[in-house]
Symmetry: none
Subunit: 154 residues, 2 copies
């Protein structure tokens, strides 16, 4: 089945073991383009979750950061915030990546992980946290939500 490369959908439940390893769903590994070399970049998400980019997607972000002048302190601060928590990870022969305890703490992750395909990236969530956040967000702006549905869903 040939689908779009570096495109992720679906949700999966996996366990994080004592060493901080989580499985990357086999389907996600298969969608990862070969030039990524089995490598993702993990970092803090804008929500309390971990964001997982294909390496090449992250490199695109890096290229954008390089364009920013380091003379402006705001720019420096932005570059710092973006680069600071990011690290490349190659998955092992069993398809797992290792999550640092810093990232696990940030996403309030313990033993169970909910992994969600977000089209061009992947999110790793604590299921309870996700539910909380989703409740907040969807209640707040349901009209915007409907608008988006109208525009995008076939």
């Amino acid at each position: 089945m040939t689908i779009n490369q570096d495109t992720f959908t679906g949700e999966y439940s996996y366990t994080i073991d004592a060493k901080g390893r989580v499985n990357i769903p086999a389907k996600f590994r298969q969608s990862l383009a070969p030039e990524n070399n089995n490598t993702f970049v993990i970092t803090r998400g804008m929500d309390p979750c971990i964001w997982v980019y294909p390496l090449t997607a992250w490199q695109f972000i890096e290229d954008n950061l390089k364009e920013l002048s380091a003379v402006s302190s705001i720019n420096r601060s932005f570059i710092r915030a973006t680069a600071r928590y990011a690290s490349p990870v190659k998955y092992d022969k069993q398809g797992r990546i290792i999550l640092s305890s810093q990232l696990l703490d940030y996403a309030k992750l313990d033993k169970d992980a909910l992994i969600i395909g977000m089209i061009n990236k992947i999110e790793i969530w604590n299921a309870d946290e996700l539910e909380k956040i989703e409740k907040q967000t969807t209640e707040m702006d349901s009209s915007v939500y409907d608008e988006l549905s109208d525009k995008i869903i076939l």
Copy 2:
């Protein structure tokens, strides 16, 4: 007889077996354009049913999602809600797709499935649920219904 590609009409009753497999009606398989590579994308419908898109139609949705900025939390939430339950499925040599237990639960499906052509997509229903929903909806907005008839039916 050549009909419009990726266009589906008619209704069919099939059984879901112990492995969660349902047949895609042969006529639907024949209408599926070759570039879909025998692949559909299944996801939650807006009604309590399963939506089945031709792969290329779904990719159009994905392309739209990619345009959304991930900086807005509403956008992220929308992408999440849309991508989360979706997964590509290729039908097997007998013409069946596999439905996950999550989707089966969502659509309250058990053994019998009612498959309905919805022009650009396919719906899989529990017949009882469909009847319930149809009764509700048509009673509620019968005037809108008539308006639509006026505009669309020859």
